[in-house]
């Protein structure tokens, strides 16, 4: 391939207002639930009210008598429709225990919300009404709710078909941990609880499936992040050949990992469309979704750090109990294992032992939620660094800086065996401290401590990194993941000089259409407005690995760049032919091919596109097309990082926490669109702060979800969150040509420990060394009471 000149950059790095917005602000949207098709039927799902039970009877006959009802099925009625259970693509160990997960349970239900029957009617309301007429009898079984009790000898089982609740134990040991801890001068140990969360994308899930009409194919619209993965997995699960299934992700209203899955209702709609020959629609209600859509986090973390006398970090031990819930969904078991590479974070150490027990319980399955394994790891290490600083009597930044990788040490191979290509923790920290007025706030804190203010000021630090750009396929293979991590893009040069970019990523709020247009505009020298980006339809974007894990720009944007480079290389040959010049004598800049030193001898990319369409005169040894495809497989992950600082006001009498200021300085490498990047950070912060202060999915001892709707599960509204001050440093990634690192999860990963460190810091003089999340007034007040001396006098 001919080397491609570096084009003038005019789009990348500037804020371009989003192309996505016009239909969203005017209501001309295409959410899955908007779709109405001729003859469409509505399906409603009957769900188990019990966490664990034998299903002894399902009688749908009365439902069939209800007005508008077309069909009703028990799990047994449809059992022969599934080629297998719903898939888990990440068998992390050879002996991993995975409960059989039929889309509709047959004789045993394993969590509240497990499907037991479906009813199909000619209206939304009619289907919902008819569920009341399906007679299901249950014989209760003991619900397993507590992870540690679940692993004890003689524990009741979550699934009577298994002989253990231990799905797997996975271990990775790097370096000599015994030596590190055996000779350590200081060891700091803690147990942290990373509570269960409910992702709560504002668009509930929805599915429409139409049976074949003029083509042989089924068409499914789903509110999914992963149309390509979904197509393959449904083909395997439902016995519909892959080439006879088209999956479309139309407008999708957020995901955060909750739509990175293959769900029972998607399989149900496909099978019902096949069986009934009619379009089928299902839309979840929010409360239904809280039982039937994956949850996130839910780890017990036993962690320890070993230090030398001079506070140099020697090693880390991590033992996790990770709650899988009742079934292993698409990547459930793999999520906590990402922590094996992240607990060491930005710090140098000689040894790291990581053990994860994946535990089955009778709860809604967990799976990837924004950050997926990295927020949990980051929370533990950043909390633990603050605890260590306190125990060692040093300033928390001093302890961090003593141990973090210095900017001149990159590329740096971490104790976990992965190579961080670039970063500058010193620069991000310096900028954050200045924006935050760190020294000023510390001085104020000191004054208020001395004055014994009822409301104390706390300062929380989080110096984080993450691994993004999932992922090098070879690495995924070595971790037993069922697929690769490549991404695909196509560039179609239209005769009129306009361009179609087809991407395998599947955006649902991230602004890929705009950012990919910026990349292509610069690479091709075509105006931003003349580029259309198509995605999210397996018939249009035939190849893709979809959107999750902050991968889209790092891998998908990279693919767009490579495909554009191929177009330019082809166009250059055509231009040289048309200009009767040697290819090496041509320069390409801002969409123009020009013979060096002869300004008049030039042609544009658009003219070349038209010429190759006409195909009257082009080089003999090439095809008459500039269109190009690229499938790129990243050589490494990318490693965004940053320094986040949070100041909290904590009322020591009521336990109320208010965030006074929040500064986030992120380094996500090269920035394509600053406004979009800032927006991604803001949203991430909101979700990370929400874990710290507000959100928790609570189950009672019988496995009932007590936070079963938005009435009880606290998703923060505008008054519950502060203004964020955001800024950036820019250390380009060296492992992709754009220099980008990914930004979707950064805010979520960084912010949770920053907030909790601030809350604990405020209360440190009272003897408080930890606060359970969420740091609700009650949890904070309890922590204060637990730390108070017996005479009741606070320090």
């Amino acid at each position: 391939m001919t080397a491609v000149d570096t084009p003038t950059t005019s789009n990348v790095g500037t804020t371009k207002l989003r192309k996505e917005d016009a239909h969203l602000v005017t209501g001309r949207t295409q959410w899955t639930d908007n779709i109405q098709l001729t003859g469409m039927l509505h399906v409603a799902v009957v769900r188990s009210p019990m966490a664990h039970a034998r299903v002894t009877k399902v009688d749908v006959s009365a439902a069939l008598e209800q007005p508008g009802v077309v069909a009703a099925f028990s799990g047994a009625d449809l059992a022969d429709q599934w080629a297998g259970g719903l898939p888990c693509a990440w068998p992390v160990t050879e002996d991993m225990q995975s409960p059989t997960h039929l889309p509709i349970a047959t004789d045993e239900v394993r969590h509240v919300g497990d499907a037991v029957a479906v009813v199909v009617a000619d209206s939304r309301y009619g289907a919902a009404d008819a569920t009341e007429f399906i007679d299901v009898e249950y014989e209760p079984l003991t619900a397993v709710v507590d992870m540690e009790a679940a692993l004890a000898d003689g524990s009741p089982l979550t699934d009577t078909q298994l002989d253990t609740n231990r799905s797997f134990t996975w271990q990775k040991i790097d370096g000599d941990v015994d030596a590190a801890f055996g000779s350590a001068a200081h060891v700091v140990e803690r147990r942290f609880i990373n509570q269960r969360l409910i992702p709560t994308a504002i668009e509930p899930r929805a599915v429409v499936c139409a049976p074949p009409r003029e083509h042989r194919e089924y068409t499914m619209w789903s509110a999914t992040q992963v149309p390509h993965i979904l197509r393959l997995m449904l083909a395997l699960t439902c016995g519909v050949p892959e080439h006879e299934l088209r999956v479309i992700a139309p407008d999708v209203g957020g995901g955060f990992g909750s739509k990175l899955n293959v769900y029972a209702e998607e399989a149900i709609c496909l099978v019902l469309a096949k069986r009934l020959g009619k379009p089928i629609k299902w839309t979840e209600s929010r409360s239904e979704g809280y039982q039937a859509t994956i949850h996130g986090r839910d780890q017990i973390q036993d962690v320890a750090l070993a230090f030398n006398e001079d506070h140099t970090l020697r090693g880390m031990k991590v033992e996790l109990h990770a709650d899988m819930g009742a079934y292993l969904q698409l990547v459930t078991p793999g999520v906590p294992l990402l922590g094996a590479f992240m607990f060491n974070a930005i710090y140098k150490m000689d040894a790291l032992s990581f053990t994860c027990h994946g535990v089955l319980t009778n709860k809604t399955p967990t799976d990837a939620y924004r950050g997926a394994g990295r927020p949990e790891a980051t929370y533990a290490i950043e909390r633990l660094m603050d605890e260590a600083a306190n125990e060692l009597g040093v300033e928390p930044f001093e302890l961090r800086e003593r141990n973090w990788i210095k900017h001149e040490e990159f590329p740096y191979t971490t104790v976990a065996g992965i190579e961080y290509d670039s970063g500058n923790y010193e620069a991000a920290t310096a900028k954050a401290k200045e924006l935050f007025d760190y020294d000023g706030l510390r001085a104020e804190q000191q004054r208020r401590r001395e004055q014994g203010d009822k409301v104390q000021l706390g300062i929380g630090i989080s110096t984080f990194t993450e691994m993004c750009g999932l992922a090098p396929s070879r690495v995924l293979g070595s971790l037993s993941y069922g697929a690769g991590g490549w991404e695909h893009a196509s560039v179609r040069m239209l005769p009129s000089g306009k361009v179609e970019v087809i991407t395998g990523t599947s955006p649902h709020g991230q602004g890929h259409v705009t950012s990919w247009s910026q990349i292509a505009a610069d690479a091709l020298g075509i105006p931003f407005e003349d580029i259309e980006v198509r995605h999210g339809d397996t018939a249009v974007a035939h190849k893709g690995m979809d959107t999750y894990g902050s991968r889209s720009l790092v891998v998908g944007g990279y693919a767009v760049q490579v495909a554009c480079d191929k177009v330019v290389a082809k166009a250059k040959r055509v231009a040289a032919h048309l200009l009767e010049a040697a290819e090496d004598d041509l320069e390409f800049d801002a969409g123009t091919f020009q013979v060096k030193g002869s300004p008049d001898a030039n042609t544009s990319m658009q003219d070349v596109a038209l010429a190759i369409f006409a195909a009257h005169d082009y080089p003999e040894d090439m095809e008459p097309s500039l269109d190009s495809d690229a499938t790129v497989d990243p050589e490494n992950f990318s490693y965004p990082h940053g320094t986040h600082l949070c100041a909290t006001e904590v009322d020591t009498e009521t336990g109320a926490v208010t965030i006074r200021s929040y500064v986030a300085v992120d380094d996500v490498g090269t920035v394509i669109n600053p406004q979009i990047v800032e927006g991604q950070v803001h949203g991430g912060l909101a979700q990370g702060i929400a874990q710290a202060l507000y959100e928790e999915a609570v189950y009672d001892a019988e496995g009932q979800l007590k936070t079963g709707s938005l009435l009880d599960y606290f998703v923060p509204a505008a008054p519950d969150l502060p203004h964020f001050t955001t800024d950036r440093t820019e250390t380009p990634a060296t492992t992709n040509p754009l220099g980008v690192k990914g930004v979707g999860e950064a805010g979520t990963i960084a912010s949770t420990p920053a907030v909790i460190n601030a809350v604990v810091d405020a209360l440190r003089p009272m003897g408080v060394n930890d606060v359970l999340m969420p740091a609700s007034p009650q949890n904070v007040w309890n922590a204060i009471q637990a730390a108070a001396p017996a005479d009741g006098g606070a320090a």
Binding site: L17, G27, R28, T29, N34, I202, R286, G679, Q687, A717
Partner: protein, 166 residues
């Protein structure tokens, strides 16, 4: 079934509906005005916010029969006519400001957020940051962290004030 008549985004409409039919389902499923969204079943999220006789309501908490004889306005009726080539010309200042300030990402909460903000600005044409946050507390956004929504509402407020005084 009960007969309802109302004006939706300036268009008269008339249907026989079940008395239990929610206004939001009437808009979405009967009128096929799908610009207004549903995000919950407990009236917490505000995605379905529309105006009923000029005041914002969550259309999942109103029955279609309760809106009988009323004027209903949704996000779909907000934009005015635009000049050739640039549809943003006709957009309401809130629509423009959500676009320019990046006050939306996935956009699912946006119609409700804009309709709630419109009501807020009609009551308080010059809200400060706290007043915007409190005024929108009935609307949840999961993508933006609200910072740019607050900016958008205040930007639109300034434009509306300028328009009113000129």
């Amino acid at each position: 079934m009960t007969r309802v008549e109302m004006t939706v985004d300036g268009e008269p409409c008339e249907h026989e509906v079940e008395p239990r039919l929610l206004l939001v389902h009437y808009l979405r499923d009967v009128l096929e005005k799908t610009g207004t969204n549903i995000g919950c079943d407990t009236s917490n999220c505000g995605a379905c916010t529309v105006h009923l006789d000029g005041r914002s309501v969550k259309s999942c908490t109103v029955l279609a029969v309760q809106a009988d004889g009323s004027q209903v306005d949704t996000v779909e009726g907000l934009a005015g006519p635009s000049s050739d080539g640039d549809e943003t010309d006709g957009w309401h200042p809130l629509q423009k400001a959500f676009h320019t300030e990046h006050g939306l990402q996935c956009g699912y909460c946006t119609p409700g957020m804009i309709m709630a903000a419109k009501d807020l600005l009609e009551e308080n044409p010059d809200p400060d940051e706290t007043e915007v946050r409190e005024g929108l507390e009935g609307n949840l956004c999961r993508c933006t962290g609200y910072v740019n929504i607050v900016k958008a509402v205040r930007t639109a407020a300034a434009e509306l004030r300028e328009g009113a005084s000129s």
